[in-house]
Amino acid sequence: MAQRTKNSVSRRRVLQGAAAAAGTLPFIHVPGSFAAEEAIGNFPAGVKAHSIFVGVTAPLTGPYSADGEDHLKGYQLAIEHLNEGTGLAEHIPTLKGKKGVLGKKIEYKYGDTQTQPNPAVQIQTGFITQDKAIMITGSLNSAVAIALEKLAQRYKVLNMVGCSGANETTGVDCQRYAFRSQPSAYMAAKALAPVLGKEIGKNKKSIYLVPDYAYGHSVEKSTGEFTEKKLGWKSLGSQVCPLGTTDYSSYLLNIANSGADVFVNVAFGADAVASCKQAKQFGILDKMKMVVPNISAFQGKELGPEIMGGVYGTMDFWWTLAETNPLAKVFVDTFNARFKYRPSWPAHVGYSQMMVWADAVTRAKTFNPLKVIAELEAGHKLQMPLGEVWYRKEDHQQVRAVPVVVGKTKAEMRNEDDFFKIVGLTPGPEVMPPDFLGCKMPSA
């Protein structure tokens, strides 16, 4: 819209000029490369002589702010490592011995989404239109992630999606320009169910506490599906509560008196902390087993082993993977040296998405989003802290292992960050949804 006033030359003048030029200079050859590298989104306008720009968003206020700070640190570390050719960049074959991505320094700015889609879209729109972002990334909530996916599709700018656990992100709302690394609710539930069957048993009655948005309903649906089909569990219903609730007493009373054996708590971030703490106060944790399908970044630290000990769930990443995977060790050690604590999984999402993107760009040899998308869709397998990871062409969901964890008791903890034990690392191909969860990939 602003473009109209920028060029005041009328259409008529342009046509006249073009006709004159065609008449006087009929033999000038149009270079082929110019036609091939057609402008798309912010390409090539966003590729400057020495740098490119990446727009980062994370919730720094609101119920997910603690997770958001961790997420942002993952991006900061990855960008430092890519610009200096250190950290994981030294271990990825395409990036080894190089500084920057395709020789360009990564510049970035970040903004606070306040855990809400509207500010997130505003900030990233600014990054895309003002700063000519070549890639956008970062979120901690599926409502935000999905809004940013649509934004990326509209502006034809690549989006390496941040944290988002809803099925819709790579299901019905999937976008050609967006790639999600975190396991979907479906994948998490499929990985979790066998462990629950083994540790808690079959034919149990369950009840759910569900935050009222895409993520909450996705997790409830998928967890219900797998525990019912595979374990014969029966759901006694769900307590649906708004995001950001502080007093859960009325929901918890229903749960306490439901007669269920298992309390599946889907609340996330500060909401998870408040609801778990209050569940303990209402005596729920003494008579039911608690399951948290997707455990928040600092749930162990904020609630302590008294509440989280013995709780089953999944996480995108947990730092003890560093004990078995040398690349995870590189990430955990460099992060710990830089920020003085062991990274949680939102940092891993940010860090690994930057590395996967840099690898794809390097292999594509261009920032042209169409070529980078083609490279990501080609399903090239990359060794990362979780083992081999790659993107699936049909729905842009990353195929990656899913860690299943259980909370440690105080006696089992070896250091101040040692809150969980990894009880399973389910390989990615085993948990992928065969039907792509309703994704109809739009064209670029």
Partner: protein
């Protein structure tokens, strides 16, 4: 039903500071939620130093009284004569500064004040198990409301406050220092918010954003009860608590909806609120 009562009691406590300040000074205090959070953090610091919940309560109240006095002298004083929009903007600004200050000092991670030892554990109420602390909260809220009521309605201070609202000039002519009284009232309102923060801390989590939800709830409570009315806040809080918990028993997804629907209904049928006085301000 019983849970509605304890939930309501907490809402009354939280809304009280907001209604005192508006009722007496006509100031719409958008920093109320931030003062509540600040109180909880003051309590947290006191608790971590002394290990005593009573000390936390005292610290939360005393620190916020001081903060309230500073804010009134430094800022609010200049806004009594200005339109409500200016007051909202100024207090909203104070809220942002306070919340981000807390985040800068304490970080974004949720912290915890455990329930005091005399109120830890669970009581068996025959129909259900119930946390002891929430029952004790009923008593704490009751006592503090009675104390506030006496200060506002049975003392010379309360008399001056109420006279000052009616005709500030006349009270001044009579040789009474209204400015100092207004200062006390704002301090009291801030103190009530801080106290509510400490009392809520063992139930909710202590984080810089903990007041955001509270501000909205407080407004709902005092709009239902009647803005600026002491009894309005009490009745509004109890009604809100009952609505939240009774609707949640039937259909949890609609409990918040029901609360806001009730507020809308009150606004349509009795715009001044159940206990409000028509035509003030």
């Amino acid at each position: 039903m019983f849970n509605g009562l304890t939930l309501g009691a907490l809402l009354v406590l939280v809304a009280m500071g907001l209604t005192i300040i508006f009722g007496a000074l006509g100031v719409v205090n958008f920093a109320h939620g931030a003062l509540y959070a600040l109180g909880a953090y003051a309590g947290l610091v006191a608790y971590e130093y002394t290990g005593s919940f009573a000390a936390a309560m005292a610290a939360g109240a005393a620190f916020l009284l001081a903060v309230g006095i500073v804010i009134e002298r430094g800022l609010i004083r200049l806004y009594y004569e200005r339109p409500a929009e200016d007051q909202i903007l100024a207090t909203f600004g104070v809220a942002i500064v306070l919340v981000e200050g807390l985040r800068a000092i304490f970080g974004g991670l949720a912290r915890n004040i455990p329930a005091p030892s005399w109120a830890a554990g669970i009581v068996n109420l025959r129909v259900t198990l119930y946390p002891t602390y929430r029952i004790d909260v009923l008593a704490i809220v009751g006592v503090s409301l009675v104390a506030l009521y006496f200060i506002l309605y049975r003392t010379r201070l309360g008399l001056i406050v109420r006279a000052g609202i009616e005709d500030q000039l006349m009270v001044n002519i009579l040789g009474i220092n209204v400015t100092r009284t207004f200062l006390t009232v704002f301090g009291l309102g801030a103190m009530a918010a801080g106290f509510a923060g400490v009392i809520n801390a063992p139930i909710v989590t202590v984080s810089p954003d903990m007041g955001a939800d509270v501000l909205v709830q407080s407004f709902v409570v005092i709009v239902i009860g009647g803005v600026g009315s002491f009894w309005g806040a009490v009745v509004g809080g109890l009604i809100a608590g009952e609505i939240l918990s009774l609707v949640a028993m039937i259909e949890p997804a609609y409990s918040q909806v029901a609360l806001f629907a009730t507020m809308a209904l009150v606004l349509i049928l009795r715009p001044q609120g159940l206990f409000g006085v028509e035509g003030r301000q």
